[in-house]
Structures are given as structure tokens and as C-alpha cells.
């Protein structure tokens, strides 16, 4: 009987159904419903948009948001370009180690890193203490709870994305082009300027816009590291939603979403780089085309000036950037073992008291338990939907498959504050707010796309002839999937599961709205501890970082093993773990 289903696309459509229906019910419709409230709360009205325009503070917040996101995107690109160039051109072995300085922060939650910045930059923080004790300053510098703090924190969170996008673009640049340019009498810097730079420019544009979009929706960092003048649109949406002013929250969300979609469309039109979100290599980017390249005297002077600094200048910037990424991840470790009763640097002595406090504090343990419960539930649900959906996508006609794939990926480009608000709304309707299941359903919106990306990438490298061979050996379609397809996908499924779990475990925004007290997660508990800042945070952060590294390490090892056995997985970000084999060709 299944043989008949096999011929029609009905079976794969059924397999994709759970994922599609879930996203439609828990994500798509609620988002639309909430956005509609901006025009219909209570009856049709433009009052909410009117208020946006009329009240100066909201205008200021929107301008702030655009300005902060743009400045952060600019800083990110300026720092990430040299870093990515360094990682793409140094010896592959070394690159493989250095890229960890990007990956570990990438997989560490923004919450943890922002706490680290408070410890680092606060008036009693590491930087100020050090400068004071060196006598370089007489009063602490205001490094935090202002614009500088927001820019530092956001750059730190977003730069890994920029580096990874640029790195994938740069790895698509053939390795023989630079020697070719040099054999044509170009100085090393000139070769870079005339060949490498123009070829990597689409990546610069795409990564700038990507980070700009992500920056627009920032919530945690401005709230933790900014001052009253650094409030961003997502923070306002959060406040207004909490006050249950749905119509106005919806108007703000609509503006944010429209701007985001516009920038994403722009990225796609200009650079064709949406695939970058899914961790594909940069080869799909539109090529630049140079008709006439005139070499003037100014450029000649530039070449002469910069060539002696080349590529050392880039390596210095790259090294400093990697340090900047890693410091907030590692600084928590010494602080967590401090013997002081409050935060001081350097710690006067060592103790385990903060770990003891964490392990004996009921609120912390409860939160941890909720997080684990929710994480496991999210992972199971996400895999249950993502595995059949990915297999379906790989065998449906490409247009239908692609449509389903893009629909499943949609939450990844949706500002998470809007997802959070929509989830809060729909769970309220379903009476699931403040329950473990409710939070898990919310987390699934983000975890399932992540898992689907990993699995789809693995399936793209899957040789369908293996299945055909199984069929020719007498296995029916279901038996083939069970005995051939799924086992070859095992590595990818495990990786997908790890990412789904980590996604849920680190998630703050949705949890903030819907977890309440009964299902309060660890990140939510950390968030609420902002007022009573003590080294327990450092201990919890250290545990979380260790946990992230363990998960990252596990998936990396698994990939290594898996590569020998089965198809590759190409999950978001993890593509950077393998400096291209092409490197050898040089």
C-alpha cells in the first residue's frame, strides 16, 4: 500500500504537515492576529499609528533603534572583515583553532555575555579597577548604562554572525587568484585591493544588512547595558505588551517587522544572500562586475603606504577582535570562584561559595529544572516535526519543497520580540501561559527551524541511490526510510537535537513573557537577578558557558565521526568549523 503513496507527493506532504501546521497555528496566525490588532483594537482605528507619530518619545526611540543598529552593523563589519580575512588566509590548522574564538561566543547566550560586560565595564568592574589601581584615572569611567555600553554589548553579540558570513564568502574565493595577481606584478596589498576586496564585497553588504536587521530587534542588551536614552523599539514593545496595550504594541511590532522585511528584501535583491542565513556557502552571492578599472595616482599612493603594513594590520585587528569576543566568555570563570561577598576585581581569595549558593538555592535549582524540562520537551517536539519535514522537503518537487522550507525558516528572520508577543497572545487563548508545555511550544518556533536547517543540509548530501539500492534489494519505502535513511541521518539528528536544546536552554524573550513562576527558566531567573547582582551570576554563567562548550564540542566530535560514516551536516555556523579543503590546493 505505501508503494502507491510513494508515486504521489501525498506521503511527503503528510510528513511535512505537522511542522507546517504547528508553525501556522502557534506562529503564523498569532503573528498576523497580533499585527492586525494595530488596526482593530477595538474597532478599526489608526489611533495607534497616530500615537507613534505624535508622541516625540516614540519617534526618538525609533530613530535611536535605527541609529544604534546601523552603528553596530558598521563596527561589526569593520572589525569582522579583517578577522574573517585572517581566518580565511592563515594556515588551516591555526584557523581551525582560532575559529573557536568565534564559535564559543556564538553559542554562548547574550544574557551571559552581557552580564560579563557589567562585571567588566561597571564602575567597580575589571577595567575601571585596573585603570584606577594603575593610577591612570582618578574616577571610574562611565563605560556602561549608556550608549557606549550598548554598542559594545551589541557588537559583541552580533560580530560572530558577521565573521561567519564573511568567512563563508571568503572561502568561496578561489585560492589561486592571489598568486595569479602577484604573478601579474601586483604587490600583495594591490592584489588584495584589486581582486580579493571586490570579490568579497557582496559578503560585506550582505553581512552589514543581516546584522542591521538583527540589531533592530535587540531587547536584552539595551535593557541590560544601556541608559534611559538607549531604549530600543523592542524594549517599548515589551513594556507596552506587559501593560496589555495590545493595539499599540502591535503598531510598534508592525513598524519593526516592515522595516526588517524591507531590509531583508533589499539584501536579497542586491546580494542574493538569503541562503547565508541557512549556512550555505557564499557562492550564491551575486557577482560584482568591473568594466573598467582605472588605476589613479591616489590608489598608487595608497598601495605604497599600505603594502608594508600588509597583512600585519589585518592580523592585529583580527587578533584584537577575537580577544574582544572571547573575554566576556572567560572572565566569569575567575569571578565565580571569588571569596568576596560582593563583586571585586581581582578576587581577594578563592572559594566555592557561589556554586554552593547556586546548588542550594531553591529558586536557582527550580529554574534550572524548568529549563531542563522545557529544553528536553522542546527538543523532542522539534525533532518529531523537523525530521519528517526535512525528508519531505528533500523529495518534494523543488518548488513545493522550497516553499515549505522557507515557511519553516520564517521564524529565524522574525524579530524575536514579535514571536514572544504572538506566543504570549496565543498561549493566553489556549490557556497554556505559565506552563512547561506552553514555553516548550514557544521555544519550538525557533528550535524547529534550526533543526530543519541542520537536517536539510545533511539530506542535500545524501545519495538517493542508496535508497534506490535498498528498494532494488526488496525493501519497501517505509522499511527503506527506517533502515537506511534514518540511520544515515543519525549524526545530523543528534546535532539538530543539540542545537534545538541549546536554543531552548538559552532563550530568554519568550520565557520572559510566558513562563511565569510555575515554569520560570534559568535565563529568566538570571534576568531577574539584575538588581541583586552578586557572584552567583558568575557561577551560573560559568556553568552555562561550560555547558555550551560541551554541546558544541559534542556536535563537533560527532561531525568528525559522522563525516567518516555518513553525509555531512551543515548547520548554522558550524560550517565555519571546517576551513575548506580547497586550502590544500595552493
Amino acid at each position: 500500500m505505501p508503494t502507491r503513496l510513494r508515486g504521489t507527493p501525498l506521503a511527503p506532504l503528510l510528513a511535512a504537515a505537522p511542522a507546517v501546521i504547528f508553525l501556522t497555528v502557534i506562529f503564523g496566525l498569532p503573528v498576523l492576529r497580533v499585527l492586525a490588532l494595530s488596526l482593530f483594537d477595538p474597532g478599526f482605528t489608526l489611533e495607534h499609528y497616530q500615537r507613534l507619530i505624535d508622541v516625540p518619545i516614540y519617534r526618538a526611540v525609533m530613530l535611536n533603534t535605527v541609529e544604534i543598529a546601523a552603528v553596530v552593523a558598521l563596527i561589526c563589519v569593520l572589525l569582522a572583515y579583517p578577522t574573517a580575512y585572517m581566518l580565511a588566509t592563515i594556515r588551516p590548522r591555526l584557523a581551525q583553532i582560532l575559529v573557536l574564538a568565534v564559535m564559543v561566543p556564538f553559542f554562548t547566550s547574550a544574557l551571559v555575555r552581557n552580564y560579563a560586560w557589567i562585571f567588566l565595564l561597571g564602575s567597580h568592574g575589571v577595567v575601571n579597577s585596573t585603570l584606577l589601581s594603575l593610577g591612570l584615572i582618578s574616577e571610574p569611567l562611565p563605560l556602561i548604562f549608556n550608549r557606549a555600553g550598548v554598542l559594545i554589548g551589541m557588537t559583541n553579540v552580533l560580530m560572530p554572525y558577521t565573521i561567519l558570513v564573511l568567512l563563508s564568502v571568503m572561502r568561496g574565493i578561489r585560492h589561486d587568484l592571489m598568486p595569479a595577481a602577484q604573478s601579474l606584478m601586483a604587490r600583495p596589498f594591490t592584489a588584495f585591493r584589486r581582486v580579493y576586496l571586490p570579490l568579497s564585497l557582496p559578503g560585506v553588504g550582505a553581512s552589514f544588512l543581516l546584522v542591521f536587521v538583527l540589531g533592530l530587534a535587540f531587547f536584552i542588551t539595551p535593557a541590560m547595558l544601556g541608559g534611559p536614552r538607549d531604549v530600543m523599539i523592542a524594549n517599548i514593545i515589551g513594556n507596552v505588551t506587559t501593560a496589555l496595550n495590545w493595539g499599540f504594541a502591535a503598531a510598534l511590532a508592525t513598524v519593526l517587522l516592515v522595516v526588517s522585511l524591507f531590509v531583508i528584501a533589499l539584501t536579497q535583491i542586491l546580494f542574493g544572500g538569503i541562503g547565508l542565513l541557512a549556512g550555505e556557502s557564499g557562492t550564491g552571492l551575486r557577482a560584482v562586475r568591473v568594466r573598467r578599472s582605472r588605476e589613479g595616482a591616489v590608489l598608487s599612493l595608497l598601495d605604497r603606504l599600505l603594502d608594508p603594513l600588509w597583512p600585519l594590520g589585518f592580523h592585529v585587528i583580527g587578533g584584537a577582535s577575537l580577544l574582544f569576543l572571547v573575554i566576556p566568555v572567560v572572565i566569569m570563570v575567575p569571578l565565580s570562584f571569588s571569596s568576596a561577598a560582593f563583586f571585586v576585581f581581582p578576587p581577594p581569595g578563592w572559594s566555592l561559595q557561589w556554586y554552593v549558593k547556586y546548588l542550594t538555592g531553591a529558586p536557582w535549582l527550580d529554574a534550572t529544572w524548568h529549563s531542563l524540562e522545557i529544553g528536553v520537551l522542546t527538543t523532542i517536539l522539534a525533532l518529531a516535526a523537523a525530521v519528517p519535514a526535512s525528508i519531505a522537503i528533500s523529495r518534494l518537487p523543488s518548488r513545493i519543497g522550497m516553499t515549505i522550507y522557507l515557511w519553516i525558516l520564517a521564524p529565524l528572520i522574525m524579530p524575536s520580540i514579535i514571536i514572544a508577543v504572538a506566543v504570549f497572545y496565543v498561549l493566553g487563548q489556549l490557556n497554556l501561559n505559565y506552563t512547561v508545555l506552553g514555553v516548550a511550544l514557544g521555544h519550538m518556533i525557533l528550535a524547529m527551524p534550526m533543526a530543519t536547517v541542520v537536517l536539510t543540509a545533511a539530506l542535500r548530501n545524501f545519495d538517493r541511490n542508496v535508497e534506490r539500492a535498498a528498494t532494488s534489494l526488496g525493501a519497501g519505502p517505509l522499511r527503506t526510510i527506517w533502515r537506511v535513511t534514518l540511520p544515515t541521518l543519525a549524526t545530523a539528528m543528534f546535532t539538530a537535537g543539540l542545537f534545538a536544546f541549546l536554543q531552548s536552554f538559552d532563550e530568554l524573550l519568550i520565557a520572559l513573557f510566558v513562563s511565569g513562576i510555575n515554569a520560570g527558566t534559568l535565563p529568566k531567573k538570571m534576568w531577574e537577578s539584575l538588581q541583586e547582582l552578586d557572584p552567583t551570576i558568575a557561577a551560573v554563567s560559568t556553568l552555562l558557558v561550560t555547558f555550551s562548550i560541551a554541546i558544541l564540542g559534542a556536535s563537533f566530535l560527532l561531525q568528525r565521526v559522522g563525516k567518516r560514516r555518513t553525509a555531512r551536516t551543515g548547520e548554522l555556523g558550524a560550517f565555519a568549523l571546517e576551513p575548506g579543503a580547497a586550502e590544500e590546493v595552493r
Binding site: 589561486d176 587568484l177 595569479a180 601579474l184 606584478m185 601586483a186 592584489a191 578599472s293 588605476e295
Partner: protein, 361 residues
């Protein structure tokens, strides 16, 4: 080639490259004359490409020196060597039009715009791509891309041009065509060209001289005819074309007694009696005979046909000799040439002057 008192275009003096404990190129000594078409031939891993990288300046010498004319190159950066390189992968700049690809070096050298235009057009005319100026490399066929790469590396008039397996990626028909083109361009510009390949056929067709490399060493240098007819080294004999290597011992008479049998053969040159040698004879030099007559000056070895392979212009035979070794024979298919069947007893006959003796080291 040119007169013996002109300095060589390129001289390699004890050129050595080590990667850790691996010696990739081992004390290479070589002089390449002005205007010469020289081929480095060898299997992959023989060090021929590494040698090219060293000459181009993309790898640093471990020992020795390379001279371009009289100028030592070891301390000269790649972009100052003025040596053209054609890469196996073409390495065309994908963002630049054909015109700009060819003009690339000229712009680095700050030529005047008008001169650039003249030179680029001349180069494109040379490679017969006049009409493609404004296209991007991706809009060209493989063969056209190859021509752009060639025009680009010749545009700044380098005195030496390095070609790294430049036609390896083309299909067979196009390869033959490009070989003719290379020859034509070489004749019209008389640029010194160093060509790296693992394809012995290309090497034989193209070269003034061939240097055969194996395991980092230059085994033998000579004209294609010298190398083919008189390989002097078992590796060269086997690598250049098909061959038969018959082990034997030199008798007091000067004839060679083949191992494992009682048959004796004569070669073109003599070796000292008692020496262990290989007698080399190319398959196409051998005639198959079913008669019993022995011609003066001809060698004759008896055997039995084990395999007959029809390859179009010729028929190849594998013949098991009485001594037990397998010999290859190639006969052109003419109406008059007899064909033989598997299992037939035949005599393999070749003239003494068609075989050489290699001493066994």
C-alpha cells in the same frame, strides 16, 4: 637552441625544496635557453609543480638559487619577478571582464590607457579572442578561458612564461587544438616557455627539450627524440611511451642472455661482459613472424600470443616469451599486415639498432 655564449634565460642551481623531512625538489640543476620551449614531465608528486612554484616565487627555496638571466631570484618577491604564469585552473578574475583580466598587469605597471588598449587588443588578437573583450570569464567556454589566461600572462611581455598543466581541464579534441595554438604563439613571440605536464604525449609534441622528473630529481634532460629513442633510464623508458624491459646478463660475446631462457639478443650499444642489464625495445619496433628464417642483425625471441587488443590505428599484442616475461608488440593496421590470434606461437623480431641496454643499478 641559441648560441652557446648567450646566457640562459633561466638557470636553476642546486634548487632544493623541503617540507619538513620530505624533500620535494632535490638539488635540481638546469639551464633553459632563450626562446626555448622546455617541458618538465613527471608523475604527480614528482616535484615538477613545486619547481614551478619555486620559479614563480610562490614557494621559498630551501637551498640553491634560481637565476633569471644573471639576476638571482631567491630574494625577489613573486610580484617583482616578471615571470608569467598560466595556472591549471586559469585563475581568471571572475569580477573582471576579459579586457580587464588581460590589462591587469599593465595597470599594475601604470601603463598609459592608450597603450593598454593597444596591447590588450594585440594580445586578444594573438589568442583569437578579439570579439570577447567585454565578457566575463564565466561567459566563456573552457578553451576560451584558457586563451584569456594565456593572453593575460603574456600581456606584460615576460621573458619567461610558466605553464602549469594548462590544458589538463580541457577535453581531448580541444587539448590537441590548444597544443597547436601554444606552438604557434611560442613561435610568433619566441618567449621562453616552461611547461609542466604529466602527459607524455603533450610533452613529446610540444617541446624543444624535456626534463623528466621523478621523486624530486631530474632524471634525464634531452630532446623528445633522444628521450624516446635512447631513454638511458628505466624510469624514463617506462614513463615515455610503452616499452619492454627485458632483464638479462651480458655474455663475453657482447650479446645479452635473457633471464630465464636460453635466448640471446643484441642491442645498439655494448656493455661490459658479466653486467646485469635491461634490454629496452619499444613495442612498435617489434615485428611478429610465424616463419623460421633469421635475418642478419635482427633479434629473435619466441613466444605465444596471450592477448590481442584492437585500438583502431593499430593492433596491440601481449606475448608470453619462453623465458616467461610478457612482451608488448604494436603493429599498424594496414591491409597488408597480418593479424594473429590468441594462442599462436610467434617469433618477436626487431633490429639490433632498435634496442638499447640499460645497466641495472
Amino acid at each position: 637552441m641559441s648560441g652557446s655564449n648567450a646566457p640562459p634565460a633561466l638557470r636553476l642551481d642546486r634548487v632544493t625544496k623541503r617540507y619538513g623531512s620530505v624533500v620535494a625538489v632535490d638539488a635540481l640543476m638546469l639551464e633553459i635557453q632563450q626562446g626555448e620551449f622546455f617541458t618538465l614531465l613527471g608523475p604527480s608528486g614528482s616535484g615538477k609543480s613545486t619547481t614551478l612554484l619555486l620559479v614563480a616565487g610562490f614557494e621559498q627555496l630551501s637551498e640553491g638559487e634560481i637565476y633569471l638571466g644573471d639576476r638571482p631570484l631567491s630574494r625577489v618577491a613573486a610580484h617583482k619577478r616578471e615571470i608569467g604564469v598560466v595556472f591549471q585552473s586559469y585563475a581568471l578574475f571572475p569580477h573582471l571582464t576579459v579586457f580587464e583580466n588581460v590589462a591587469f598587469a599593465l595597470r599594475n605597471l601604470r601603463w598609459k590607457e592608450s597603450e593598454i588598449r593597444v596591447q590588450v587588443r594585440e594580445m586578444l588578437a594573438l589568442v583569437k579572442l578579439k570579439h570577447c573583450e567585454e565578457r566575463l570569464p564565466t561567459e566563456l567556454s573552457g578553451g576560451q578561458q584558457q586563451r584569456v589566461a594565456l593572453a593575460r600572462s603574456l600581456a606584460f611581455r615576460p621573458s619567461v612564461l610558466l605553464l602549469d598543466e594548462p590544458i589538463g581541464a580541457l577535453d581531448r579534441k580541444l587539448r590537441e587544438h590548444m597544443l597547436v595554438e601554444f606552438k604557434r604563439i611560442h613561435r610568433s613571440l619566441s618567449t621562453t616557455m616552461i611547461y609542466v605536464t604529466h602527459d607524455q604525449e603533450e610533452a613529446l609534441v610540444m617541446s624543444d627539450r624535456i626534463g623528466v622528473m621523478n621523486e624530486g630529481r631530474l632524471v634525464r634532460v634531452g630532446s623528445p627524440r633522444e628521450l624516446y629513442e635512447d631513454p638511458r633510464d628505466p624510469f624514463v623508458a617506462e614513463f615515455l611511451g610503452e616499452t619492454n624491459l627485458l632483464p638479462g646478463a651480458v655474455q663475453p660475446s657482447g650479446r645479452v642472455l635473457l633471464d630465464g631462457g636460453s635466448e640471446e639478443v643484441t642491442a645498439a650499444e655494448q656493455a661490459s661482459p658479466g653486467a646485469k642489464v635491461h634490454v629496452v625495445v619499444r613495442p612498435e619496433k617489434i615485428a611478429l613472424s610465424i616463419g623460421a628464417e633469421v635475418l642478419d642483425g635482427w633479434n629473435r625471441v619466441r613466444g605465444r600470443i596471450e592477448e590481442v587488443i584492437y585500438v583502431g590505428e593499430a593492433t596491440k599484442y601481449r606475448v608470453r616469451t619462453q623465458a616467461g616475461s610478457l612482451m608488448r608488440v604494436k603493429q599498424l593496421n594496414r591491409q597488408t599486415s597480418p593479424t594473429h590470434e590468441v594462442g599462436r606461437e610467434v617469433a618477436l623480431c626487431w633490429h639490433a639498432s632498435d634496442s638499447r641496454i640499460l645497466s641495472v643499478k
